[in-house]
Amino acid sequence: GMAAPKKSEAGCPRGLGDLLRAAWALATDRSDFRRNLIVNLGLFAAGVYIARNLSDIDLMAPQPVA
């Protein structure tokens, strides 16, 4: 009869590859609602971080002399 497949062949590497492929498919699927939600929430958090660190801008400060 046929030999049973070795556990090591059907173990972690294949599972990890499938996981990575699924993660890549989610990250690049622009029509996926969950993916867009996560991306835009992350952008919102990044925007808030940028906004909170803008206090030292002075638009009328003299230009530095070379």
Binding site: V39, N40, L41, L43, G47, V48, I50, L54, I57
Partner: protein
């Protein structure tokens, strides 16, 4: 203990209206300008103002006439009652509002919108402003014959000097269909930043406004809708250069739309000149225009 609570309550302020929760953040973003627009404002008296708007664009040219009457009764700075506003365009479409101060804390509003000879919108609001809360009741397009109506209730309560919590209930009824949506709202205000969140079954809307200094203001918005399964992120900023009488507003969002509007007051003339452009990278659409406002 009761006196302390009452004293603390006395320091709470009225939270304003529900519609203005995200107003500070939204004001930072530029308004799209397309084509050429000329606006002439004329104060005919202390109470009566008229405005003519001529808008020439690739869609269709339009002329709007706007008349505003504000009465003598003053509830606050810049708030005069009764307030009557009417705007009509060259196609015969009318937009009219009437806001009355029925009592010191009670306001009523009626708004109508017509397209040609048909009514599109007829809406009646009443608002009660307490020391630390605001409650509003709205009837939208009530139609007894067709048994349809939209009822909206808002409530906002100041919990502390910085924190406001509240909610909105929208009920709609049409023949063979009715439904209701509840949305919770919260707003945290400090002298330098304001964070606001609306969340409910229909989606979420979060905004963050930050005043970096006298020259720079930033707004960040996030919107998600469970009905249309769409989410949007927007980033906007406003640069005020008072010495140059100039304001620049820029924005970019997750739909790859980038835009900016530059406004310059041409002192000592009573003119404001605005130049704007918006680029939609996904649709490859570019919109630009300028406007002149005469005060």
């Amino acid at each position: 203990m009761g006196n302390r609570a009452a004293a603390e309550r006395r320091q709470l302020h009225n939270p304003g209206s529900f519609e203005r929760l995200h107003r500070r953040c939204k004001d930072v973003f530029p308004q799209q300008i397309e084509g050429v627009k000329l606006v002439i404002n004329k104060n005919l008296s202390h109470h009566f103002q008229a405005a003519h708007t001529i808008h020439m664009s690739s869609m269709s040219p339009h002329y709007h006439f706007n008349a505003t009457y504000s009465g003598k009764r003053q509830a606050g700075p810049g708030e005069n009652f009764p307030l009557l506003v009417g705007e009509m365009d060259s196609s015969g479409n009318l937009n009219a509002q009437c806001i009355l101060l029925l009592a010191e804390r009670i306001r009523a509003k009626a708004a109508f919108q017509t397209q040609q000879e048909k009514f599109q919108t007829w809406q009646f609001d009443s608002e009660y402003r307490g020391d630390s809360f605001t409650t509003t009741f709205t009837l939208g397009n009530p139609d007894i014959i067709n048994e349809s109506v939209i009822v909206v209730g808002h409530f906002l309560q100041s919990i502390t000097q910085n924190l406001v919590l509240g909610g909105e209930m929208v009920y709609h009824r049409r023949p063979n269909e009715e439904g209701a949506i509840l949305t919770l709202a919260g707003k945290y205000t400090t002298p330098q930043w304001i964070a606001t969140l609306n969340i409910g079954r229909g989606g979420a809307h979060a905004s963050y406004y930050h005043k970096a200094n006298d020259q720079v203001q930033v707004g960040v918005e996030f919107e998600a809708s469970t009905q249309s399964r769409e989410t949007t992120f927007s980033f906007g900023y406003q640069l005020d250069i008072a010495q140059a009488n100039m304001v620049f507003r820029g924005s970019l969002d997750s739909n790859w739309v980038v835009g900016g509007v530059l406004e310059k007051r041409l002192a000592p003339l009573p003119l404001t000149f605005a130049l704007g452009a918006f680029m939609d990278h996904i649709k490859s659409k570019f919109q630009y225009g300028f406007s002149v406002t005469v005060c």
